[in-house]
Amino acid sequence: MNRNHRIKNILHVTVLLVLAVLFMFPLAVTVTNSFMSEQEIADNYDPVTDKNVSSYNDDSANHFARFQLIPDVVVLKQYYNVLIKKTQFLFMFWNSVLITFPIVIGQTIVATLAAYAFAKLKFRGRDFLFFLYIIVMLMPFQVTLVPNYLMAGQLGLLNSHWSIILPGIFSTFGVFLLKQYMEQIPDAYLEAARVDGANQLQIFLKIILPMSRSGIAAMAILVFIDNWNMVEQPLIFLQDAAKQPLSLYLSRIIDGEKGVAFAASTLYMMPMLLNFLYAEKYLLEGIRLSGIKG
């Protein structure tokens, strides 16, 4: 029995290791390639990215990209290009910050209050209202795009960060996630508080919020990742390139600047990575308890 258990464990670990390597490989390639020179990157990837190369080169061996993890010579030129030479990256980084942080803060406030109401307050039409929330959440982004665009136009918000921030703050995802989480909190805590004379605000602040910390952290991280990565909204709502966030920068890197792509990608994922590592425990706990994954 013990022996079988050990073999099972080894198999599990092996499978997990293989999967981990598979998932980690693109990340590792991105990070290590960011220290390669422009020429080295061109040598590795031109066979698949440069049309001129593949069109005249009949050597089929040269039609595949070469994934190289260790740079021939470690250089910081790409980072110099991204962070100093092309100031656009920095500007778009701050655009991302200006868009993402208000959404995270706003949605956290709105979602905790709304989720509390849906989870713990009893009022008429509550379930129907929540049903509408679910319907909206289930709608693909593309369906709500046109109404959102028209409304932003009516409010004079087009080409402004508010055209993205406001819909982001009132997104239904956070409400749904936190409602699921708050429903796990036993009503007995709330009853006891009421017996002790606590009002709704006190119950929310003193009992619900502390007990929902993991869920709120999980929601904040997921909302942060979701909005840090958004592409469609800024592409449609922000015509002015000077207002667009970093997520659009990578899509704009032209062929001649392939080297910049890896450094930009590495820097791009840093905030998400740090965020995840900081609140990893909350994220996992929140997802586990709410039964939702991002």
Binding site: T87, Q88, F93, M270, Y278
Partner: protein, 388 residues
């Protein structure tokens, strides 16, 4: 154990928190200093706005002073040189003896020629008398013929005799003129006893015979620069510059051989340069300055305004490559961190230029780069500096 896990988690959060802060601070720092760091590496350029106006053509040239008029004296016969009284380069005054030829042998020739002249005179007198007689004969016969007392044949013979007499008379007349000149020449040579003098005040520029040698009528005995007629500076210039000068223009002249003495000259004429036919022209400039003798080196400077052009840029702003001329126009773009300047290559045609500016046929909007700290390329980002 749970306490240990909590402590580890807190420690991890602390480290990640510090890393996050470091990342944020780095991004803030780079945002603030990126322009400054970047500007160290950017080419620094000085720009100028195209102007309109005329170009100033400055013409420089070096040439040699020559006298305007030269006199040459030839000997009419091959004679022995008795004496040469001057040397080449000597200044002489009008009437001053230059060279003496041995004319003793010429004296008897002179007398013979005089006699021959006299003989021709006598012959002419006889021929004229005969012509008068023949004329009279013809008139008589004509009268008779008109009254039908003479034949036509006799009249024709008389006319022929008259024509012969006239021809003979004319022939002797011509010989007499030739002889008269011969006698005159010999008379002159003999009269001066073979001494040749300076016809005008001037300077001996050429002496072809030494004492004791025989003269040759194809070579002048001497050449004399006529100082009274003045001097000219002959300066070869590129034919492209000829459009900007014309006879009558005043030119600043610097005579190098006379300690850089400065004077003004006037362009007399513009002629083809004999050595660089087609490529160069010679300016003949009248100059007048005390001490000139001819042969001095002189340089000229002349500045002229051209017609007005709409687009003038400094010569340093115009670049050339295989496809032609181009300028870099500064394009200011509003960048994420302030105004950024980029270069735009604009192809142009240079219509004309002087030593400082070029006239373009194309309108160029904006500022053009006239100086750069590094080689430039189309699309380069640059840092604009104030012109000195």
């Amino acid at each position: 154990m749970p306490n240990q896990a909590i402590a580890d988690d807190a420690q991890r959060k602390k480290v990640i928190g510090k890393l996050s802060l470091l990342f944020l601070m780095t991004m803030i720092g780079l945002t603030f200093f990126s322009n400054t760091i970047n500007n160290f590496a950017l080419p620094r350029v000085q720009t100028v706005r195209p102007t309109n106006g005329a170009l100033i053509k400055e013409i420089f040239g070096v040439g040699t002073i020559e006298v305007k008029s030269n006199r040459a004296e030839y000997a009419d016969a091959n004679l022995r040189v008795k004496e040469v009284m001057v040397e080449q380069g000597d200044r002489v005054s009008k009437g001053q003896p230059i060279i003496t030829l041995d004319v003793d042998g010429l004296k008897s020739d002179y007398q013979d020629e005089q006699v021959r002249y006299r003989q021709l005179q006598l012959s002419l007198a006889g021929a004229q008398a005969e012509q008068t007689q023949k004329q009279r004969d013809y008139d008589n016969l004509k009268y008779l013929f008109d009254h039908e007392a003479e034949t036509a044949v006799n009249l024709q013979n008389a006319a022929k005799n008259l024509a012969d007499a006239q021809r003979n008379c004319e022939d002797i007349q011509l010989n007499l003129e030739i002889q008269a000149r011969k006698v005159d020449t010999l008379a002159k040579q003999v009269a001066n006893n073979g001494v040749y003098t300076a016809p005008v005040d001037g300077m001996i520029t050429e002496l072809n015979f030494a004492a004791g040698s025989m003269t040759n009528s194809s070579l002048p005995l001497f050449k004399l620069a006529d100082l009274g007629q003045g001097f000219r500076l002959i300066v070869p210039i590129d034919k492209d510059w000829v459009d900007y000068v014309k006879p009558g223009d005043t030119v600043n002249v610097n005579i190098l051989s006379l300690g850089d003495q400065k004077t003004e000259g006037k362009i007399d004429k513009i002629v083809e340069n004999s050595q660089h036919n087609g490529d160069k022209k010679d300016l003949w400039i009248d100059v007048s300055l005390e001490g000139l003798t001819g042969g001095e080196k002189g340089e000229i400077y002349l500045s002229k305004k051209t017609k007005s052009y709409a687009t003038l840029v400094p010569n340093s702003a115009v670049y050339d490559d295989n496809s032609g001329s181009y300028v870099f126009v500064l394009e200011s773009r509003k960048g994420p961190l302030g105004t950024e300047n980029y270069l735009q290559k604009v192809e142009v045609n240079v219509e004309d230029s002087d030593n400082v500016k070029s006239a373009l046929t194309d309108m160029v909007m904006g500022e053009v780069v006239m100086q750069s700290s590094k080689p430039l390329e189309d699309g380069n980002r640059v840092l604009k500096e104030a012109a000195n």
